[in-house]
């Protein structure tokens, strides 16, 4: 090769090497982009209407502006005012630096851009979580744990002379309502709570009772004060002033509104955990949770669509099975997690989830009437869930799993749930226990049995967690039944008889005896010596006589 040719080759190769450095630069940018969840290098668009908000809040609350900068909203030019803007007629509207805004952003506000998600969510059981305000759980927090109203302190608190009253609803506000949602209230000038019940909002969310707005307590700048016992609150069934239910930030958080976060099981675990419904712990114990923890780097959590079988396949999360799109359903996401749930294991006795046109549970027992009322059957819901399962499992496998699950739920229902409910109903009916909840040991025992241990067993079976199904579930249900519930029920009957309620005691005894004489309970009173001998014989064969 001539010297001239070599010079040309050197120039060409030199340029090629510089070109390869451009590829390296591209890879570096790509890496940074992936680290930042596709947002690190994304262009942030601050709309004209929100520029002064961003400028001022960058000084005052810099982190929420920073969170917003990392959101899809910021890239698409959705600014502060797009969500926080309010109509002057709104109950919580106020003037702020030349704009009319509201502090709380409700699902109705989000529905302006996300109508389908709003519609799906509004019909979901999630949005009805605020119904706890009239449930036994809330009775516990508001009465048993606390007090409906204020009461006087037991004694002075050193260093806090201002503590002159006790808020009896504190447990409900910091506990129940943080998951289930508070009934948001404006603070009246007399300290009263002004809720949607008082405001009577119309379809657009504006109050029809405008007169009451004059009684709302305001800051010197005119900002209405939200009652501190109802806000901050991002409970999923929050009852908002505009009449809408729920809080999108319950799952998506503010102000980055992260789809990534909503796809992760820890997000659901804020509420779906603990002794009464340990779904997060159950998931962690299951093979699904184990695979997720191991393979989280392959979950592609930042994907725009996140369709199972297309964007990822490593492991399922809560969202995968209950909400997210998959290849088989055309990638359709649903904000109604109930669409794929066939049993509700929440009540003392599990129910199959047939729902009517208004998405309410059908409780009709007559088969023909039930069929007529049902718009979306439990079978439809199960088929949707099976579609998800089928991305990883064969039809036989999925059907066999559902047989195991159904049989566990039915075992609980028929051996403990229904009989327990019958006994409790009889004790109430015969007046052997008072109508006041939780004032007798047997009521606590029954509550533990179905609300804690019974749910754990059923939820454990629903999501493949053997330890929760057995040791934390059915074992404890059985212990609670035989060692506590039945003895306590008999004790109630005995006391009733001693107090002169002989006929009532006989009736209740008949119910208990009839249940305990059934084959599934007969071992407890009749003994199972023959079975024990058989077990002992087998153990000796397996391990030797010692």
């Amino acid at each position: 090769m001539s010297l001239r040719a070599k010079q040309v080759v050197i120039i060409v190769l030199g340029l090629a090497f510089l070109g390869s450095l451009l590829l390296v630069q591209y890879m570096e940018v790509l890496r940074k982009k992936q680290e930042g969840g596709d947002r690190a290098t994304a262009h942030v668009v601050v709309p004209q209407s929100s520029q002064s908000c961003v400028k001022c809040h960058t000084e005052k609350t810099p982190n929420i502006v920073e969170h917003w900068r990392y959101s899809t909203h910021s890239q698409k030019g959705v600014g502060c005012l797009d969500c926080h803007k309010a109509d002057r007629a709104d109950a919580d509207a106020f003037d702020h630096e030349g704009a009319v805004i509201a502090t709380i952003v409700t699902p109705k506000d989000c529905s302006g851009c996300h109508p389908r998600e709003f519609e799906e969510f509004t019909r979901s059981h999630h949005s009805a979580a605020g119904n706890i305000l009239a449930s036994l759980d809330n009775y516990l927090a508001e009465t048993v744990e606390g007090h409906r109203g204020n009461f006087n302190p037991h004694g002075p608190t050193a260093g806090r002379g201002d503590i002159t009253t006790v808020n009896g609803m504190a447990s409900a506000a910091s506990g129940c309502q943080q998951c289930h949602g508070a009934k948001v209230a404006l603070k009246g000038k007399d300290g009263a709570k002004i809720t949607l019940d008082d405001l009577k909002p119309d379809a657009s969310g504006r109050p029809t009772n405008t007169a009451i707005l004059a009684t709302v307590q305001r800051t010197p700048e005119g900002k209405p004060i939200i009652h501190e016992s109802t806000w901050p609150n991002t409970g999923i069934g929050r009852l908002n002033l505009d009449g809408s239910r729920g809080s999108c930030s319950a799952c998506h958080s503010r102000h980055d509104f992260s789809p990534r976060r909503a796809r992760q099981p820890e997000n659901c675990g804020k509420c779906h955990m603990g002794p009464d419904h340990p779904q997060e712990e159950i998931y962690n114990e299951s093979k699904h949770g184990i695979a997720y923890r191991d393979l989280v780097s392959r979950m592609n959590l930042d994907a725009k669509t996140w369709v199972l079988g297309q964007d990822y396949s490593a492991a399922p999360t809560c969202a995968t099975c209950h909400m997210s799109g998959n290849v088989r359903n055309g990638g359709k996401v649903s904000h109604d997690p109930g669409e794929r749930i066939s049993w509700t294991n929440r009540p003392p006795i599990s129910k199959l989830l047939d729902t009517d046109q208004n998405h309410r549970i059908v409780n009709e027992a007559d088969p023909e009437k039930r069929k007529a009322l049902t718009a979306d059957s439990w079978g439809d819901k199960r088929r949707r869930m099976k579609d998800v399962c089928s991305h990883c499992h064969s039809p036989d496998y999925v059907s066999a799993f559902y047989t195991q699950y159904d049989e566990l739920v039915i075992l609980y229902n028929e051996k403990f749930g229904k009989p327990g409910q019958s006994i409790m109903d009889e004790l109430y009916k015969q007046g052997l226990i008072t109508k006041t909840q939780f004032d007798e040991p047997v009521e606590w025992t029954w509550f533990y049995l179905w609300h804690h241990e019974g749910r754990r067993a059923r939820h454990g079976a629903s999501m493949m967690a053997p330890d929760y199904t057995h040791w934390h579930g059915m074992f404890e249900v059985a212990d609670r039944w035989y060692m506590h519930f039945i003895p306590e029920a008999r004790e109630v009957v005995k006391k009733g008889r001693e107090s002169g309620k002989v006929a009532q005691a006989d009736a209740a005894t008949a119910v208990i005896d009839k249940i305990m004489a059934k084959p599934e309970h007969s071992w407890f009173q009749g003994g199972m010596d023959a079975q024990y001998d058989e077990i002992r014989k087998q153990m000796e064969q397996r391990y030797g006589s010692k």
Partner: protein, 348 residues
């Protein structure tokens, strides 16, 4: 301009003619063939290793609690850290291959023969230094495999009769892998080996200059002139090879970047322990024989190759024209390839 030239001429009293003579030694015509333009490749890779190594050392922190995290930081956080680390890793792989290929070329062309025996020994020193550098560099990441690789290596050292315990303590800075081990590896990798290699390279090149490059006359080379200028003819060829090498390394760094295995866990022995590919041959050898036999036999074979120019000289004096080196070389290369492939394809 002339004033500047005068300034330097006065302070560096070497005439332009002398400089030209020093830097532009005529080289034999066979170096015009591209295959023979690969001689500078290991040296070129060594320079890349030094440059990327200095950059990596800016962030690397030796120590069991910091090493892995600092490498992870380089790989995942530092701007272009992954690229620099990948270049370093691929350069190391290529350098080992380059040194071995250079050594083979010298062996099979008999370029080690009189009067170049000492330069062969220097070359063997460079080969061993390269392998030690590779081993210690691999260990610095503090991954499961590199940790257990180092543990295996220390057990190998321990198998040497009499000196074993001493060698193991020298390698690990104690009786077993401890908090000072990585510091020791780092010093060996980043200070001791590079210094030794620079000294050996200077000696190696000085010897080449003193003896001149061994000349090969190919039948198709009918030109009367047997030599051509190093500058610019051969220099251009080396630059072309260097640029090609840089493009290949850069592509590999992007396509197959250096990754992170699981962090070292001294309490959990991995099911499968594998060293870097260039140690497959010795790893398989160790599995074939009892440890002491394997270590001593390996040491003996390396020693024989170190002295091979002298042994070959004795053979050729006894049997002039003998091609024993060809047979010995062929058997050795085939054995190395067979053992390497064997180790690569089996799980354990």
């Amino acid at each position: 301009m002339s004033r500047l030239r005068d300034f330097f001429s006065e302070r560096v009293p070497v005439s332009p003619e002398t400089m030209r003579e020093l830097t532009n030694e005529p080289v034999p015509n066979h170096l015009k063939r591209w295959w023979f333009a690969l001689g500078g490749t290991p040296a070129y890779l060594f320079i890349i290793m030094i440059v990327t190594g200095i950059l990596l050392a800016c962030y690397y922190q030796p120590g069991p609690t910091t090493a892995y995290q600092s490498v992870r930081y380089i790989t995942e956080e530092v701007a272009f850290g992954w690229y620099i680390r990948s270049l370093h890793k691929w350069s190391a792989t290529f350098m080992v291959a380059g040194v071995i290929l250079h050594q083979l070329r010298v062996f099979f062309t008999g370029a080690y023969r009189r009067p170049r025996e000492l330069n062969w020994m220097i070359g063997m020193g460079l080969l061993v230094s390269t392998l030690v550098g590779g081993f210690t560099g691999y260990s610095l990441v503090y991954e499961q495999l590199s940790f257990w690789g180092a543990t295996v290596a220390s057990n190998i050292a321990d198998s040497v009769p009499v000196l074993g315990g001493f060698l193991k303590r020298m390698l690990l800075a104690g009786e077993s892998y401890n908090q000072h081990t990585l510091s020791r590896f780092f010093v060996i990798h980043a200070a001791l080996m590079p210094t030794l290699m620079v000294l050996l390279l200077v000696l190696h090149i000085a010897m080449v200059r003193m003896h001149g490059v061994t000349e090969f006359r190919f039948p198709d080379d009918t030109s009367e002139k047997r030599y051509f200028n190093f500058v610019p003819d051969h220099l251009f060829s080396e630059i072309i090879v260097g640029l090609l090498l840089m493009i290949v390394l850069s592509t590999l760094a992007v396509a197959l970047p250096a990754e992170m295995g699981p962090m070292a866990d001294p309490l959990t022995t991995p099911e499968v322990i594998k060293p870097e590919w260039y140690f497959y041959v010795s790893f398989r050898w160790l599995k074939l024989f009892p440890a002491t036999v394997a270590v001593l036999s390996m040491g003996f074979i390396v020693f024989l190759f170190f002295l091979w120019p002298l042994i070959d000289g004795l053979i050729r004096r006894r049997w002039p024209g003998s091609e024993a080196s060809m047979y010995v070389g062929a058997v050795t290369v085939l054995t190395i390839i067979a053992l390497t492939v064997w180790e690569a394809v089996v799980a354990h």
